[in-house]
Structures are given as structure tokens and as C-alpha cells.
């Protein structure tokens, strides 16, 4: 989907320092996300995919613990250079996040409705009828009885419902970019399908861009327009999803795809990544 870039990241490097040791988590990567586009970032744990997503809106520890270099252009403005107050206008409102584990990302002592209302109050202070926005956002994520769910606490909901509530919260302020960090890893296949179908629908309805972080190639194949593969802080391959999936150019991408057990294809042993490919 050709479009003007909404987010343009150039030469992003992230370095963590602790106890005199430094770790380069992300090494000078560049990528962009267009309007209405779904970009998937895949890679193993520790490849730097989550960290690069968190760095977009300063969700990482501040220096000297963590040092971020490079430019993060959001609709033409460099997010690295703006003040904290200005960033608050963007974080949560224009760029929203959903995380892997809804059980620990939601606040256990407040109701779902309260938590969604909180986000709306901060970002849309002019709205009078906040309850209506809360119910509408719960309704949008296909929750049948928004009034009841709004009064419930996170522990009263199943994992799938919690993730819907998280999505409702993220979408309540109509973000332009949704960063979904392994949104279905903690869920089982049937719920996973429902959540992915829901994200697909919402993306179409709202022309929203999505930065999808995952290690599930099945989801990538069905959802993403483009995919980039990360290994040890670097992007080893990127391109159109169909191209990368069908003709992976980099041995690491080929290795990752080969590791996945597939239905109806019983092999005696699963393929693993060799040390060479991993590094």
C-alpha cells in the first residue's frame, strides 16, 4: 500500500548501560510506517523489536541508563526533540500501545470503564459525556454488553476479554498508529483469531496504521502489508509480506520460517537455527 510515511525512523540506536557494562540493543535501524499500513516486526526474544517500539514515545528508562540515538519523525516532527508535555499529546492519543500480557498491563484495582475513562479524560478534555465514549469503545471491540464490562475488574474477565478491553482503551482516543506488541502470544488459537480479525476490521474502519510485533509468521502472512525481520538489534531483511514469506532472501529468515512446525507435515525432527545463523 503506497502512502506517505506517518512514522519515519532513521538510524535508531538504543544502548543500555548498567554496572559499567553497555549493551547495544538496537543498532542503527531505519524503517517507516505509512498511513493505513500494517508493518510486522518479527524476530527472536532479545532481537530488539519491543525495545525499538517502546523507544518511539520515550517509554524506556531515561539516560544514563538508556541512550537513544537517531531520529524518530512522527508526521514530520522529531519526537526526540520535543518536550515531555508535547509528547504527552502524542503518546496514547496519536500513538497507542497494546501489550502482550493483558493480565498484567491492566490495573487490577480499577474497573475497566474507569481505566478507559482515564485515557479519554487526559487526551480529550473537552468531551463531556465520557461514559458514552467508554461504552462506544467497548462496543467497537465487539464486547456484547459494554455497560456490564465497564463495571468489571480485570480479574473478572477472561484473557481474550482483557485483551479486547486493552484494545478498547488504546483505541478510545482514535490513534493514528497502534503499536501491538505480541498482542496474541498469551492467547490460544481460537481467541487469537478473534483478536486478529478484530484488529483487521478496526484498521479498515479507521484507516489506522499498525506496527505489529510478533514471532508468529502465521499472523504476519495474513495481516501485514510489509514485514521486517530483526536479529540482534539489526534488520536483516524487509519487504512485502508475500515476497519475504515466499522467497526469504536472508538465511536467518529462512531459518526462522523452517523452525515452525506446520500442520499436516510431520517431520521426524524440527529444524533449528544453527549458531552461525543466530549470530
Amino acid at each position: 500500500m503506497p502512502s506517505e510515511p506517518l512514522l519515519n525512523v532513521e538510524n535508531l540506536s538504543i544502548t543500555f548501560s548498567s554496572h559499567g557494562r553497555t549493551t547495544k540493543a538496537v543498532k542503527s535501524i531505519s524503517f517507516s510506517v505509512g498511513t493505513g499500513e500494517v508493518l510486522a516486526v518479527v524476530g527472536e526474544s532479545g532481537s530488539g523489536k519491543s525495545v525499538s517500539a517502546l523507544s518511539l514515545t520515550r517509554l524506556l528508562p531515561s539516560p544514563p541508563l538508556c541512550d537513544i540515538q537517531g531520529s524518530i519523525l512522527w508526521r514530520g516532527r522529531d519526537l526526540q526533540k520535543i518536550t515531555e508535555d508535547q509528547l504527552t499529546q502524542i503518546r496514547g492519543k496519536e500513538i497507542a500501545y497494546i501489550f502482550q500480557d493483558p493480565g498484567t498491563s491492566l490495573n487490577p484495582v480499577y474497573t475497566i470503564g474507569y481505566q478507559i475513562a482515564e485515557a479519554v479524560k487526559i487526551h480529550e478534555p473537552t468531551i463531556k459525556d465520557i461514559d458514552a465514549v467508554v461504552y462506544q469503545s467497548l462496543h467497537d471491540v465487539l464486547i456484547d454488553n459494554p455497560h456490564k464490562v465497564a463495571q468489571q475488574y480485570p480479574h473478572e474477565l477472561s484473557g481474550g476479554m482483557q485483551q479486547r478491553a486493552m484494545i478498547a482503551m488504546a483505541l478510545a482516543c482514535n490513534p493514528k498508529l497502534l503499536v501491538a506488541d505480541e498482542p496474541t502470544t498469551a492467547l490460544d488459537v481460537t481467541i487469537q483469531k478473534e483478536i486478529i480479525d478484530l484488529l483487521k476490521r478496526l484498521r479498515q474502519q479507521r484507516k489506522m496504521s499498525i506496527l505489529l510485533i510478533t514471532h508468529n509468521f502465521g499472523i504476519v502472512a495474513h495481516f501485514a502489508d510489509r514485514v521486517q525481520v530483526m536479529r540482534q538489534g539489526e534488520i536483516v531483511e524487509s519487504g512485502e509480506t508475500t515476497t519475504v514469506m515466499q522467497n526469504p532472501a536472508h538465511p536467518y529468515t529462512r531459518g526462522l520460517i523452517a523452525c515452525i512446525p506446520r500442520l499436516g507435515q510431520r517431520r521426524r525432527r524440527l529444524t533449528t537455527l544453527s549458531e552461525e545463523i543466530k549470530n
Binding site: E44, S45, G46, S158, G159, L187, D188, V189, T190, I191, Q192, K193, I196, H215, N216, F217, G218, I219, V220, A221, H222, M245, G255, L256, C259, I260, P261, R262, L263, G264, R266, R267, R269, L270, T271, T272, L273, K278
Partner: protein
Amino acid sequence: MSYSENLLTVKNLSVHYPSRSGWFWQKKEPKRAVNDISFTVSRGKTVGLVGESGSGKSTTGKAIIKLSPLTSGQIFYQEKEIGKLDGAAFQPWRKKIQMIFQDPYNSLNPRSDVLGILSEPLEIHFPSMTNAERTERCVDLLKSVKLPADYLRRYPHEFSGGQRQRIGIARALAVQPELIICDEPVSALDVSVQAEVVNLLQDLQEQLGLTYLFIAHDLAVVEHVSDEILVMSQGKIVETGNPTSVLTNPQHPYTQKLLSAVPRF
């Protein structure tokens, strides 16, 4: 030992959790987590148990080693009924049946080093072992899960998810079990690490003649490892058979739904 010896036989197993709520904590209908299921596991084989969250698959696994209370039904280990044994009487079977848990982050004691984690089951089940023998055995265990011996003095937080899961496997192997209940052993791992752990489990099965009850929700992984597959939904087994036939030609609507949800590429 005959080829198809039944190592584990589960007959009409039910696990119901009492539930109370509302005014005066009134008794309500119990939650029927597992409802009248029967199956057998043959020695040296892998039986895969699939189903979505809440279908009762983990409860079934836990009930076998008494981590969940049995409401009714019988569990036989070979010829012996073990379902009604309690405490000390069950101890010898805890040595034969071990478990590997889903979450490698929460299932290892963070305050204990690897030596401590691996020697605890040895102290319980082999009280006559000397310290030197125990340490030697722990080194062998690390080798068998392909970890270097110098990891003995490290703590769980120093390891990655895949390494922790290997330590969990080593702990299960410590007491030389015959049956291992694997409760979603690879669900929390990346695809590349998942493949390594699955291969390790299969190698160990061949080397040690282990029997697995493999609980998972990833149908492709279950198809890969299992000799037989059981599909659970709402506390009941809805379909059984060999993995290829169940997954290529599912009979029950629930199995069909589960299969259609798997993203393919």
C-alpha cells in the same frame, strides 16, 4: 515389558471445583473443570492433549499428580490405583510421574541456584545419596539437557526462557521418572527455541524410553510430537485418534473450529 503396555489409565475422571458467591456465600453449581473423561497412555508413547484455555486440559494433567483434587474416577499407574492414595502413600509415584510447567519464569525458585533446584528432588527421593554423588548427578542432568556444567552455580534470572525450560526438564528428569506430564512446555518460547526444546524432549524420549502426556494448544506442535491425540472441550474429550487423521479429517465441530483458527501460510 510388552510394546503396548498401558502405563497410565484414567477412568471416568472428574474434577469439580465448588463455587460460592452472592449473599451469604451460597453454594452454587460446582465448576465442572473435568467431566468424566477416560483415556490410556502406553509406555514409550506420547499422547497429545489439546484444547483451548479453560477446556480442562491442564487440570487433567494436574489431577494425575495430585496437584488438583479428584472429585471422582480412578487413575491407574500400570495395575495400581493411585487416584485415592494420599500424602506419603503417593510419594513413590511422584518419583515415577514428573511434570514440566508452561512458564519457565515462575516455575523455578528464584532464590535457589541450579544446583539447589536440581538436588531438591534428589534429596527427597534418594535420601541416601551423598553430596558428591548429588553434584555429579546434577552435572549429568545438565549435560543431558545440553547445558554446560558450570551453570550449576547460577541463578534462574541469569538464564533465557529456553535455558530455564531446559532446567525445568532437567529437574523433572532428576528422579528418573517414567512418565512426564508436559503442561504447555513450549508455549512461552520463541519459534526457534521452541524447535530446540521439542527436539530435546524427543531425543530424551528415545534415550530414556520416556512416556509423555503432552498438553498444548498449538495443534502443529502436538501433531509433530504425538502418537495419539485427545481433543478436549469444556471438560470433556470430544475426539481421539492418531494425529494425522484427527487433524486432516476432524469429526467433531469443536476440532474443526480449532483447526480453522490456525493461521496458515
